[in-house]
Symmetry: C2
Subunit: 655 residues, 2 copies
């Protein structure tokens, strides 16, 4: 796809964008503020810009008069970049050239890193654990009347160099008729052993050549949401994706309330039942969307946190929430999917990702595997930020890990207008340094409904860096804008006035929201710090950061460092893998090596119970500031804050 | 138990018998004929004897007058030997001294050979595949918060030198509560791998010390009857036994009719269902009789012929009865007993004996294993005679095997008054050479109901050797006795008159019965001969014969050789193991070595399809005589027949 240059004036900032990029988003990416209340729906009419050179598509609405249009005036949020252009932000949006310097730094999102299929194939790692072989067997005679299964096994040995084969009962049951349905021309499905030297199971046998139709399901069993992918094991492609709320959600929002429910009479069975129901619904959707024959699904791999895994397997999670926090097991044997209640054929075995401890579960192990961290030489910090947050530090030889009691602030929990990253969530934000008017961009470019995690981070970071809030997350009481106000004794900033929203109410960010956010980011940061201390290392040893989580690829890394959620490193060091749990489940479905290595990896993962670690509380208290009590840990931010202070003094002197 | 000498006069035959032996049985064993019609119930009053020295217990009934009693007269069938005695058979039962020489040779039953538990223990072979270990685990602390399963595995590694351990899902489900129920003092049940180097599965975990309570079920799935044993894996003892008709019997008596039924819509499911029902009933009875807790049953091992095994596992047996007679498989993976519908705990795995071919099944393999033939250096002929007959020849290095289409004559099939070896079946028989009056001994010493296999063999052999029938099984038409008569054109011998039976009818042995018997024994003998020819050996190479089958330990070996059922060898070479299938299932439950060796053994077993072997029909036709067209194959019998002929001529000259 071609790229185009957008020059923003009077800021004189250039940015290279993809063909068809939205102009408001391009401005945000360039760190150029344009007032925008309605999230990008085009109703507030505030994001007017003038196209000075080149031309754009769209941008024309009833909000603009003929006169405006003749001047080249457009609504940025409705404009699509299709060529090189120069765009002027009208002066009413900026105060003067000096103030321009107070604009945000350009946003830096993490590079998205997922193992690529071609790369896997080149490395010889595209070896799905379940493989189909088409075979033309000799027909039995009086001289050669081997039993059907032995005929198949013997042919695979002689002609395909396959050894240590064993046929499962469903295969023995169907083989007589399948062999004879098409002159002994059949396709055998072979499930490779997880460990070298063990048996390869013949799990299915089909008449004719079905090698082109071999599928697997990968699934992330999240506390809140369950995501599934249907994978084509022949090509490696993702044929369908689906997600849905975990049906357990009506029995409690977090793992602790689920455990409490599971301890009640019949509770475990009910929670197990509803999660299986959600899984089956997702499987149904995957089948529907990909239009495949369900019988061609050969495998399912699932990953989830330890509590979700125990509930999935109907193992009482009672002791997970009691000191010393002992799970029933961290390794789970392969289990027939049907025995777990899944609507899959009887030849399908469910592989469930192993865990490390009660609070570092299979979802994290899956992320460590799927991200490739587990075979990396570089010292890597892996952070999975979802309903809770887990941290892993290590390289291919060792890993230290811990769960941080961060709570669900980054998924919208404990935030008055918090919501998950769904349509209508403000996911990006900028603030005019003088008028303090907002620039909101929502998911789906519709009027806002609430704030998601990435939006929250950008808001708090921006307000802090502009001095709108102090390092405790309290608003400067002297600022003069109607958007900052006190309601029922709580200070808040109005992100969108009632008319610009979908919810018929002002959407605000309160000081209580910020307290919760600070506690959450403090828990995560202090988790990293404590872990580093325990292994006798400092933040400077980290060579790479891998971010995982529903959290989103839109997170502005510099902003996440500004609030002290991430340690301050060069943004190039950070990669984002999205849903690590789903990625790990997917990668294990495509390459058997991961399934072989994972047990060894979990053995190398040393779990630290932060609540039992003496230094943790000190680190936590120190992290309950923006970004931290020790600003020297954030040298780039410190420099920016000092530069801004100096510039502000200059401006104050000028005025 | 003490033994006593019984001297029979005027025969002057001595026999050593066990304390409390029945006197009629003692006479039979000594080859002394005493007229006895009622099977030993004491109602016909014919078996009068005079105790000349010593005394007996019992033998006094209303059939004897005071005068008789004073003379020392007793009914043999009601008398129990309790000391050394001399017994005179009254002259009315024997003609004269010359005739005495025409009496039967003393009966020679096979030595019963089963591996003895003490022998196993001495050889270090008493290593049940499922073992319990009592463990006192350290309780978890903050410093040592291993997951429950890993705590158990790690303790077993460190303190019991157990490796390659894996916990099954049911264990993971119950371990948290079980560990905490009794201060982490638990008993783990370990299931050993069948193959070296594979995993040991932890299949159960129980609170406290339950090592003394570890049981297994061994089962023979016969076409007609299913037998089960409950084994104490701690001591090796058989705690209970039970047997019942296979519920499938109402859908056909033999395997072919079962296969035909299984091919009908829903037929396979129904046959599977009813056999599982029978198995569950037997399991229930075993539990009831042994008064154990069903949850303490750790394993079940089953053996059956190939059709019974496929029906048990719900595998369509359709192609077993169609040339080239291909079974679905001959190896069956371990399967959860519950998945097969068995009423056993979820930690119990069913092990099903592997087969060799469609008609040499797991029951035969079990016999080869259980009898110890599989590790014997001697060239052994193994014969299992039940609803059908199978023959195995070989030693520890190789085996040739075949199924003979013998039919169920030895289990009473195709015999007018044939019945299984149950109470009221004539199981032993002798004939007065002059009066041609019978001596019937029934199972349970009650009035006869019919004839079982061992009785049939003795009758036909005795009549043949006495010249009552010729080598085609036809009665000498010139004999003068009311017991030989023609009914509806068929000659028959009346074994018991109506009043002496339980069934209110004369019980007879017909020429048609004998034709069927000759066909059955001919099929078995010619099977052995064909197999020997195929491997280029003669009958003289055989060093040992092992007999298995419902057939019974009462079979008189010399008689079985007389009719040509067994090749003529020294009776010492023959041992009897009873139900070989059940024995194999039992031995596999007690010693894991058998389960390890069995796959290798089935690989060494070469199956011969007799119907596809050219020489078989010739051998069969040659065997349709008593004992065979070639009398030189039976030199001892030939000598006896010649001696008898000479003596008969002498007697004829005397009279």
């Amino acid at each position: 796809m071609s790229k185009h240059t957008v020059l923003f004036l009077p800021h004189n900032k250039k940015i290279l964008v993809q063909e068809n990029e939205n102009l408001l988003s391009a401005a945000m990416a360039a760190g150029v503020h344009i007032n925008a209340s309605c999230g990008g729906e085009g109703v507030c009419g505030k994001c007017r810009v003038i196209i000075e050179q080149g031309s754009i598509e769209g941008g024309i609405t009833e909000k603009l008069s003929r006169e405006d249009l003749e001047k080249g005036c457009r609504l940025a949020c409705q404009s699509i970049v299709t060529g090189d252009i120069s765009v002027r932000i009208p002066v009413e949006s900026v105060v003067d050239a000096g103030v321009l310097k107070l604009q945000s730094v350009p946003r830096r999102t993490a590079g998205i890193k997922q193992m690529q299929l071609e790369e896997l194939k080149e490395k010889g790692l595209f070896t799905p654990p379940v493989e189909k072989k088409y075979l033309e067997l000799p027909e039995p005679t009086n001289e050669d009347n081997l039993p059907d299964v032995m005929r198949l096994i013997s042919f695979l040995k002689m002609n395909h160099n396959e050894h240590r084969l064993v046929a499962d009962l469903p295969v023995i049951r169907k083989i007589p008729d399948v062999l004879r349905a098409n002159d002994f021309k059949v396709t055998a499905t072979l499930a490779r052993p997880v460990q070298e030297g063990r048996k390869t199971h013949i799990i299915n046998v089909q008449s004719g050549d079905t090698t082109g139709r071999n599928y697997a399901v990968a699934m992330d069993i999240g506390t809140t949401t369950i995501y599934g992918q249907l994978l084509d094991l022949h090509t490696g492609a993702v044929l369908a994706q689906d997600g849905d709320f975990n049906g357990q959600i009506s029995y409690g929002e977090d793992v602790i309330s689920r455990i409490v429910y599971a301890e009640k009479a019949g509770g475990l069975e009910r929670l197990n039942n509803v999660v299986i129901k959600t899984i089956n619904k997702i499987i149904q959707n995957l089948i529907k969307h990909s239009k495949i024959n369900p019988d061609e699904i050969s495998a399912i791999t699932l990953a989830g946190n330890t509590t979700m895994t125990q509930l999935l397997l109907k193992i009482n999670p009672r002791y997970i929430r009691r000191s010393p926090y002992v799970p029933a097991s961290t390794l789970y044997p392969p289990i027939k999917a049907q025995a777990l209640g899944m609507d899959l054929s009887d030849h399908v075995t469910a592989l469930v990702y192993p865990a490390v401890s009660s609070y570092v579960g299979g979802d994290i192990v899956a992320g460590v595997m799927g991200s490739g961290m587990y075979h990396s030489k570089e010292l890597t910090l892996f952070m999975d930020i979802g309903t809770n947050a887990e941290v892993v530090i290590g390289n291919k030889d060792w890993f230290a890990c811990a769960a941080c009691s961060a709570g669900p602030a980054f998924e919208g929990g404990g935030i008055q207008f918090g919501m998950r990253a769904a349509k209508g969530a403000i996911e990006d934000f900028s603030l005019d340094p003088v008028s303090l008017e907002p620039m909101n961009i929502t998911i789906g470019r519709v009027r806002p409904k609430g704030i998601c995690g990435s939006g929250l981070i950008v808001m708090v970071a921006t307000m802090f860096e502009m001095g709108v809030i102090n390092n405790l997350g309290k608003f400067d009481r002297n600022l003069n804008t109607p958007r900052i106000r006190e309601t029922d004794g709580i200070y808040e900033y109005v992100l969108a006035w009632r008319d610009d929203t979908q919810i018929d109410r002002d959407i605000v960010l309160t000081e209580i929201d910020m307290e919760n956010l600070i506690r959450a980011k403090g828990a995560i940061y202090s988790g990293c710090m404590t872990l580093l201390e325990e292994i006798g290392m400092g933040i400077q040893s980290i060579e790479k950061i891998i971010l995982a989580g529903g959290f989103g690829s839109y997170v502005d890394l510099e902003k996440a460092m500004t609030i002290g959620l991430l340690p301050e490193v060069e943004p190039e060091m950070v990669t984002f893998i999205g849903n690590g749990s789903l990625l790990g489940a997917k990668m294990s479905s495509l390459t058997n090596r991961l399934r072989k290595d994972v047990v060894e990896v979990t053995r190398k993962m040393t779990n630290f119970e932060l609540s039992e670690t003496n230094s943790y509380m000190d680190n936590y208290v120190a992290a309950l500031f923006l970004p931290h009590t020790d600003i020297n840990l954030f040298p780039r931010l410190k420099a920016r804050l000092e530069a801004r202070k100096a510039m502000q003094s200059e401006l104050d002197l000028d005025n």
